[in-house]
Amino acid sequence: MDILTQQLFNGLTIGSVYSLVALGLTLVYGILHIPNFAHGALYMLGAYITLTMMLLWGVHYWIAMAVSVLVVGLLGVLMDRLVFHPLRNAPPIHDKIAAIGILLFLEAFAQLIWGADYRTMETPYGQVIDIFGMTATTQRVLINIGAIAVMILLYLFLKKTYIGSTIIAMAQNREGAHLVGINTNKVAMLTFMISGGLAAIAASLSAPINLVFPGMGHLVILKAFVIIILGGMGSVPGAILGGYILGFTESLGATYISNDYKDIIAFLLLVVILSIKPKGLFSREDF
């Protein structure tokens, strides 16, 4: 019983991180129909920037994270302007390859600056606490609270502000949005900004319980793709729900099936889904 609650809490924590990463991915997909393979590199950079700020200048954790969000967000905007915008009318294979090129560059860049070593991030919230008879570090609790807070903020932004509603409008119908006078370029940039920011938050929150290294984004981004296919490409609630489902499945799978193969669960899940529904779950059939 103890193990079960512990694993459920673990699943919640992992799921929170997955959801945040998947949210950024799904927003960009919804607006621009780009499967952004470079999103994992943004996640990785987010962790490194926070880490560097803390180590080099002794900046406080939260401030470091805020800087990271800003820098990675701007990097996302830069990617849109320099690469994806010029490719908007190219054949579908092109933007994927371009994204892969960015991914490779950013990883090599990180390796050049920070080296290939695995690093750990110290957190001011390392103490162990006791909730409902189970032990956890404050950091893990923080991940959950932080992620949920970010999701609520994002929801309010998308639903309650004008600028947020333009993102939704454009995700639903790009040409229509253009016709009613929405500046689609601006919305695209904004979306990349948010998407990069979300990746930076996810990475900065989870770095203290994981390790920081140039390839840290690989598995996360692959799983984020699984999640958004699970939850419907472009769907915001789908990304959140899918993230938590995968988080729980993995942490329970690791305990009760095999720790070695826990990373395969996500991919097997995807292979099964796409085998049955080639256009993903929740696809609007026939269109």
Binding site: Y29, H33, P35, V83, P86, L87, A90, P91, P92, I93, H94, K96, I97, A98, I100, G101, I102, L103, L104, F105, L106, E107, A108, F109, Q111, L112, A116, H218, L222, F225, V226, I229, M233, D260, Y261, D263, I264, A266, F267, L268, L270, V271, L274, S275, P278, K279, G280
Partner: protein, 342 residues
């Protein structure tokens, strides 16, 4: 026909260089690097047929390369069957797994296909990495034998291996040339242009896509098997996604959807990487942006850019000769008039 003759010069030249190279520059290190490059070229050709000619970007091909390598390695090390039989079996095993994956993967399109194959590639990598009992896991597989003798031919020396791999590369190029320049190849290209249109002119797209997919995994497997018996040691990282990115870079730089692209791109990148040895770990600092810039400005790579240049060149020539002709005709008419008037 003219372009064929023009290309023939290139083909004969490249072939002569490849055959004579070991005599002109008897350097063991270069020989090793070139042999490896030839192996990559075979894999890139497989990828090109699928991504370049049919329009399906598969990110699982590092996995199929690894399957070919491990199939050959395991067959020769654990069952000790004849090398050549093992080579044939390795290709067949890879194609068979390719057929199963293709049957499902090809029902998806575009992004879904790319993501699906990325995941399949990762599953293959993880299975190789974790299945200690069969593959040796992270320790890898050692002691893979060199190809066994065929009559008097022995493949003990690096030189003989070089020619063996070159033979398979030529075989690959020949097969690719014949496929691309045939109704079968035209069928693939029609699918790349528009699947809906292809269907309405009576092409069974699923059947043809599956054929391409299996073919391309066959060549990935062949390259993997050759790699295993050349390096004689393999680890799970040959199936990791970075390998597919390398292959893609070779293909994109050379020219996706062109016949010479895989050779040009692989050779160039391998040569540049060698002369920039100090960059080894950071080579993607250059190749990453290169990949991105190429796809924006020269989506068909070096070979494609060359074709475009030549096409423009001949178009200009045609225009010029036409103009000259017209000028000439009008002059003769004028002259005739004058003659009549005179």
């Amino acid at each position: 026909m003219g372009s064929l003759l023009k290309n023939r010069g290139w083909v004969i030249g490249a072939l002569a260089v490849a055959i004579l190279f070991p005599f002109v520059l008897p350097n063991a290190y270069f020989l090793h690097i070139l042999t490896l490059a030839f192996i990559w070229m075979i894999a890139v050709y497989g990828l090109n047929l699928l991504a370049g000619y049919t329009g399906y970007l598969s990110l699982a091909h590092a996995g199929f390369f690894a399957i070919g390598a491990y199939a050959l390695g395991l067959l020769t090390v654990k069952t000790e069957i004849n090398y050549w039989l093992a080579l044939v079996l390795a290709c067949l095993i890879t194609s068979a797994i390719g057929a199963v994956v293709g049957l499902v993967a090809l029902r998806t399109r575009e992004h879904f296909f790319a993501i699906y194959t990325l995941c399949v590639g990762y599953i293959i990598y993880l299975v190789i990495d974790k299945w200690d009992g069969l593959t040796g896991g992270v320790r890898g597989l050692i002691g893979i034998p060199v190809p066994s003798n065929i009559g008097p031919l022995s493949f003990e020396t690096p030189l003989s291996q070089y020619y063996l791999v070159l033979f398979f590369l030529i075989f690959t190029v020949l097969v690719m040339y014949r496929i691309v320049h045939s109704l079968t190849g035209r069928t693939f290209i029609a699918i790349r242009n528009s699947e809906d249109l292809a269907q309405t002119i009576g092409i069974s797209t699923m059947k043809n896509k599956l054929l391409v997919f299996v073919l391309s995994t066959f060549f990935a497997g062949l390259a993997g098997a050759l790699y295993a018996s050349f390096i004689r040691f393999i680890g799970p990282d040959i199936g990791y996604i970075t390998i597919i990115f390398d292959l893609l870079t070779y293909l994109l730089v050379g020219g996706i959807g062109t016949l010479a692209g895989p050779i040009v791109g692989t050779f160039l990148i391998v040569a540049v990487s060698q002369s920039l040895q100090f960059l080894q770990d950071y080579r993607m600092l250059i190749f990453g942006p290169l990949l991105t810039l190429l796809i924006i400005f020269y989506p068909r790579g070096i070979v494609g850019a060359y074709y475009d240049w030549r096409m423009k060149h001949t178009a200009k020539k045609v225009k010029r000769t036409r103009k000259e002709q017209r000028y000439f005709e009008s002059e003769t008419v004028d002259a005739e008039k004058k003659v009549k008037e005179g």
